[in-house]
Symmetry: C4
Subunit: 126 residues, 4 copies
């Protein structure tokens, strides 16, 4: 499998990091994840832009997904240029220099039992 | 990122606002959300039509998503031309004058622990 | 909105009706739902085929989605030609004579707090 | 329904098998599933490759989905060439010799109430 599967532009319209959680950390820390998969033979250089309801977008955040690797990126961990605020609606766009696949997952542990959601992101060629 | 990503026609076949909820409001109010993302440089004027099982569609509901912004729209909050009934099956269609991305999320807090679902909506060019 | 949005062939590879549930019925009966949306001006005549792991497919089940209506179909309610067995893996294919949109949702109430999943189905033209 | 619906290349960027679970087994064993549907008249020979964060991909795992059948494959059950490690981020790619449909589901029973997620996988022609 050396072929690069996927697309170079991905969007996740839903985004929300709960302000708190329950359960053993880090597995049960409330988190919002973008799962990035690079099946190709070249590293993927990805630029992420974060959109908000009532202020200008922030970014780019830069991550690299090595060739033949997956990166399950917690939005909670993004800090440069600035952390993503908690308890705030946002959305995200991923632009990669090579094709990748992006899937969105949230674990919400604010109440004592965790809840999960996941969806493949929206993709297009950029 | 000034390019407008997405499509101008989106459909969510699932729709259901639970009649009640548990937990601190507004975060744990049972709600059904359409997350709209406008990455472009022009405001998106969106017309929403609500479909039912046994009566004519209602709409259009009108919302604007400003350029370079996201709007996480709770169906609970739509009131004009009329509120969406609770505990009733519905579906929704979004027609925008510029490309947007739409993702569907529900938080169901009828029982003491919340449940979540999410999916990218179905899109086509209109 | 008189345009028929969607596609004429849809597939849901996941299918499983839990054998039992908890909570007030019918809302909290464990159920598996296909949400069908017909935005067009003609009734949609839909034929559903159910696939299994180790026996021949069963069908067609026939449902009609009226023009400008949505039908949230519980697989639990299908009886003709035969009910879908509980606690059994299955998959489903929907063939419609006019374009529709199909979304898949499950409410699992086997444990005391319900869980939810949803995804847009896979579509193609048939 | 003898037509083969779907695509020959599918990717699931999210993958994670919880290390433990609660509730009656095997239904409530924490598990990660790929639901494969083969609507065609020829058996589907599928090669699965598993991608990781920090080591080379492993595979191919080989499964067959018979003609006109669905296979709900638990990643937990894959053993050849090697089991998939628990509590570890991974991703998966499916290459089939005939068109299939792939949907991704997780049941997480680490806490006392189970959580569910599901999404259609990303597809392309290979």
């Amino acid at each position: 499998m050396s072929k690069a599967i996927g697309n170079t532009c991905w969007a996740i319209a839903e985004g929300y990091i709960p302000a708190y959680g329950n359960g053993p950390e880090p597995q049960f820390t409330s988190h919002e994840t973008a799962c990035l998969l690079n099946t190709g033979e070249q590293d993927a250089h990805v630029e992420i832009t974060i959109y908000f309801k009532d202020k200008e977008p922030v970014g780019p955040y830069r991550v690299t997904v090595s060739a033949r690797r997956t990166l399950h990126l917690r939005f909670n961990d993004l800090t440069d240029p600035e952390p993503i605020p908690r308890d705030t609606d946002y959305a995200s766009v991923f632009i990669s220099d090579v094709p990748i696949v992006v899937q969105h997952t949230r674990l919400d542990s604010r109440q004592s039992e965790n809840a999960l959601l996941s969806t493949i992101a929206y993709s297009s060629s950029n």
